[in-house]
């Protein structure tokens, strides 16, 4: 199967600043999450994939089409919902979406029909004859989503789609993203600061930091993997306990200072942990099974040294 997005040593430079530094990876999931702190290069990566910025080194491919040579073809199959306000204020929503559909190549009548459909789909059917400039922030987000899907793209790039939405509107947006993913032959790239949104909707996650890839995670695989996560709060020689657990083949990591997280290897039971703690005169104040959340993955990735590729 052709990967949705392939990055091959992709670098982008603005003036003397390297914004993206030799990114290399291949993403094939139906929904791909793009995470990273402010200034990590997420939006620059999206803009480069859309051909807004020229790569200084390397290249990228979307559905096998090179962004350097086939950008027009790529734009025909991609829908983009930008992060910031993007609309034409003095147009009704239906005229605005119709214009966007026509610019994507749909004939005028088909564009009008699709504009109505898209607005109904995102839940703006009743407000479709109102000017977009009079919409609330949440409604503008939905209008942006409608323009991104109106021409029936194969890949939708959503940049912070839940920005400024109240909790019910956020839930509706997340539900809609899931629905699009499941019901249609669509791929979605979701760029968000909200880890919960990404965790709820994405199969794959790419974490960027300072213009480099610091972590790739296949959430689907991690969800289905039969790994045993234990979180404990020992008092005493914590490092010694971690060392002993690692000696038994467990993976250990500290979080929040005193908390110790461990992935138990095969054949290791909870009573082995108690035994090791007792041998070292360590109190275990708390011990519970706990899987890594995306937040843990993200925080761990932020501590990682950057090397640019997977």
């Amino acid at each position: 199967m052709t990967p949705v997005i392939e990055l091959e040593g992709l670098g982008v430079r603005f003036g003397k600043r390297d914004i993206l530094k030799g990114l290399t990876c291949s993403l094939s999931g139906r929904t791909i999450g793009l995470l990273g702190p402010n200034g990590a290069g997420k939006s620059t990566l999206i803009n480069t994939l859309l051909g807004f910025h020229k790569p200084s080194t390397g290249t990228a491919r979307i559905f096998g089409h090179d962004i350097r040579s086939k950008i027009t073809h790529i734009r025909n199959v991609v829908g983009y919902m930008p992060e910031n306000d993007a609309f034409i204020a003095n147009m009704t929503a239906v005229a605005f979406i119709r214009l966007m559909a026509e610019l994507s190549g749909l004939p005028s009548e088909a564009a009008l029909e699709r504009a109505h459909e898209a607005l109904f789909y995102v839940g703006l059917g009743e407000a479709r004859y109102r000017k977009v400039g009079t919409y609330s922030l949440g409604m503008k987000q939905l209008a942006k989503l409608a323009q991104a899907i109106v021409h029936g793209p194969k890949l939708i790039i959503l940049d912070e789609p839940t920005n400024g939405l109240d909790p019910p509107a956020r839930q509706r947006m997340v539900r809609m993203i899931k629905e699009m993913r499941e019901a249609h032959n669509l791929h979605i790239v979701l760029c968000s600061h909200l880890l919960r949104d990404v965790e709820e909707t994405c199969e794959e996650v790419l974490i960027l930091k300072e213009g480099r890839i610091v972590h790739y995670s296949n959430l689907e695989e991690e969800r289905s993997a039969n790994r045993r996560f234990v979180e404990m709060e020992p008092i005493g020689d914590t490092a010694g306990l971690a060392q002993a657990l690692e000696g038994l083949g467990c993976e250990c990591a500290f979080s929040g200072g005193t908390r110790l997280k461990a992935v138990l290897s095969d054949g290791i039971e909870i009573r082995d942990i108690y035994r090791l703690a007792a041998e070292r005169d360590i109190q275990l104040r708390r011990l519970n099974y706990r899987r890594d959340t995306l937040e843990d993955i993200f925080l761990k990735a932020m501590e990682t040294n950057t090397n640019g590729s997977l």
């Binding site: 983009y80 930008p82 609309f87 190549g105 789909y121 323009q147 029936g152």
Partner: protein
Amino acid sequence: MAVYKRSYRAYSGRLTPEWSRFYILTRYALSNLFRSKFLTAAFVMCFFGPLVCMIGIYLNHNASVLALLHTRSNQIINVNGNFFLGFLGMQGGLAFFLTAFIGPNTIAPDLANGALPLYFCRSFSRAEYVLGKLFALFYLLSLITWVPGLILFGVESNLSGLAWMWENRSLGIGIFLGSAVWILMISLIAMALSAWVKWRIAAGAMVLGVMFFLSGFGAAVNAVLRSNIGHYLTPGSLITRVCADLFGVESPIDISVWSAWVGLLIMCGICLLLLSKKVRAFEVVR
């Protein structure tokens, strides 16, 4: 009213050719322009001059009216290069004021509301965007400049005979070419300024201000330096010189024709450069 099921489906119908998509913007821009009653009224008033000229041409060929007026040369107006130069001067001035009102409506709202990424994430280039908006202005301003000009030329040809038309064919070419260059220049100036000054009203004032400032500055340079170098800073002087040459009449602007053409090209080039800096999906802070 159609009732749509809440469903999403991919589009698999035919697509319009890519080269023709710039005209979509023209169509939408034109439909938006006439929403303003003031603009519609101003646009209608622009036809007053051509109407008066047409009546003049008609009376020029009406023997009973000429006999009634006892004109010395047996003519009310002399339809020649000077007539059309004056006509284009009047209509060109009106076109400029109209551009100052409608020009900023083309790009400034898109920039103010961040709409450009939505255009350029499709298979739609920056050049097509500028061309689409430019075409809207060209279409509108053509209706008050070279179109009535050529109609007057046609009326005069019809009344004076084909021999007159053949003898004065350069006037027809001049009407079109002179108007087209003027429209192109004022449209580019209006678009470039509206791209830099995102507030529509300020952009309109800026268009008027820049043109009057350039004219005043050019006149001041001419007066202080006792030269004609200031004409190169004045778009009106440059186009007058070019049109005078096209109509084969003596020009009040004493600069060479080729230098006037170069001046116009440089001005258009600067406007295109300003547009290329601003008409982008995203501004990059380096």
